[in-house]
Amino acid sequence: MTDNNAKEIIKQYAIRLGDDALVQGHRLSEWCRNGPFLEEDLALTNVALDFIGRARMFYSYAADIDGGDYSEDSYAYQRDCRDFTNLLIHELPGGDFAFTMARQYLMDEYSLMFMERLCDSSDETLAAVAAKSVKESRYHLRRSRDWMLRLGDGTQESHKRLQKALGDLWGYMPEVFELDDLEQGLADQGIAVDSAALKGGWEKAVRATFSEATIDVPADDWSVRGGRQGMHTEYLGHMLSDLQFVQRAYPGQEW
């Protein structure tokens, strides 16, 4: 494999991670001014900012590799649905607070493990982004795990809402632990994280939290996949039409 090819593959990997972070950050940013109380509104906004910041770092790396006129915004604003390669779980609409926090918790457990591994990547830029992200993810997880306990072991209503949210999210989790050829190849070289290897630890952590939160583990009887290959739910297109509106309506301008 030539160096150029190798870089191109790393770029695609960086874009995937950027897409995950952007879509997740965007969904969280929708909560700003809509939180259940002011303090939580500010906290959700903080987390949103962390993810959008993370997206910018991954996209900037991709833009460095692409060179020319590419910038972080090229990937966020000038690609359509089929080009986005985020995991599907991130693009689902925020739903109620239980849904948002359940998704956040499931992915925070994963993100912390993922970023801890990515710190060891032989690619220095990816490792540097991961080092910054680990600190944020620790804080995110502490928060979202607390919410699992409060909602799970709070009122009957909060318990019911959380249990339903987890059921609605569960089938999007298998995709998170699957590697396609691109990621497997990078993982074999010590560049990407072997996310399949994280599954055991993740399940253990999640089960422990569920038990403390008096939540049942949802049934493993359905699963949806496709995000990494550009197959998406219908929700992503609407999110992009919102996200990209100004740049699409007034192309080629500085803002």
Binding site: L38, E39, D153, G154, T155, V246, Y250, E254
Partner: protein
């Protein structure tokens, strides 16, 4: 035995402290009207910060670059934080945040009327940051010297963050004015729509203002509405000129003698109309605030229930 001071003597001592530039603290004696006046002003200020999250929040998901999105998110988050400081400062006078929210919802408490105007283009993020935050800073810088201690200290913290807000707004306008014709028109249109409402933010003329005289005497306000408005006009005219924007006031003219800009009369009928519920967004703003509060109720209930269970478990373990 010390004689109990009469109300008049207490008021006299209170005024002497104010005159000596002493700060009034929550546990100090204060005239009932002073307490009500400060509380009204702080609650209105807090509600304005929180309701003000809506018109800018309206563009968070549509910000045109990731950099702008981060700045806007951080800014709206700051406004929420300012709301928190102010609610806390107001709570020192014995009224809870819930009570203040109830008063907002049933119309007893007000918020800045400027937030009843819609944000319809991206340039409105520039106009709000530059003009609305600009006007707010003029007012808040003055309020750093307000006589009520918690309010004054809150203002010192808030002013530090507001100057960043104004700069980011002005920067949005500057970039638009360097751009395409469409962008320039967008910026000018935003200025046209937000200029007069920003001027109205300082409130009625001093001669018409119901609260000014007493507020000045108690040093709750340190400068009058008209003084602050003049300061805002003087600083904004030059800022507009530098980037090629035209302030929509045919009567705007430098007055050598006064050393200030003269400006046209505000349309007070429009002001009255919008304050009284006839703005484009009054109902939307209130409905949004009430909806967020209602939808969050089960979450707040869950926290209370969880904390209660935790406490009971701790008690049982200790027993």
């Amino acid at each position: 035995m010390t004689r109990v001071l009469t109300e008049a003597e207490l008021e006299e001592k209170f005024q002497a402290r104010i005159d000596a530039e002493e700060k009034i603290e929550p546990k100090d004696w204060m005239p009932d009207k002073y307490r009500k006046n400060v509380l009204r002003q702080m609650s209105q200020h807090a509600h304005s910060e929180v309701i003000g999250m809506q018109p800018e929040g309206n563009w968070i998901t549509r910000a045109p670059t990731l950099h702008r999105k981060c700045i806007l998110l951080a800014k709206v988050q700051d406004e929420g934080g300012h709301g928190l400081y102010l609610y806390s400062a107001a709570e020192t006078l014995g009224t809870s945040r819930e009570e203040m929210n109830d008063a907002l919802h049933d119309g007893r408490a007000k918020y800045a009327s400027i937030f009843n105007y819609p944000t319809v283009t991206w340039a409105d993020m520039g106009a709000i940051g530059w003009l609305v935050d600009g006007a707010a800073i003029v007012n808040q810088v003055s309020l750093q010297r307000t006589s009520y201690g918690p309010y004054s200290r809150g203002m010192v913290r808030i002013c530090k963050e507001e100057s960043f807000h104004q700069r980011q707004g002005y920067h949005i306008m500057m970039v638009l004015m360097r751009g395409s014709d469409e962008q320039k028109n967008m910026a000018q249109d935003a200025l046209n729509r937000f200029w007069w409402p920003s001027m109205m933010m300082f409130g009625p003329h001093d001669t018409e203002s119901a609260h000014t005289a007493q507020s000045m005497k108690w040093k709750i306000k340190r400068q009058t509405n008209d003084e602050l408005r003049q300061k805002f006009v003087d600083q904004s005219v030059k800022q507009a000129e530098v980037i090629g924007l035209k302030i929509p006031d045919p009567d705007l003219k430098w007055n050598e003698e006064r050393g200030h800009y003269d400006f046209g009369e505000i349309d007070w009928e429009e002001f009255k109309q919008v304050v009284n519920g006839n703005g484009l967004c009054n109902r939307q703003r209130m409905a949004h605030h009430i909806k967020a509060q209602e939808e969050g109720k089960w979450v707040r209930d869950a926290i209370t229930a969880y904390e209660e269970k935790k406490r009971q478990r701790a008690d049982q373990a200790a027993a």
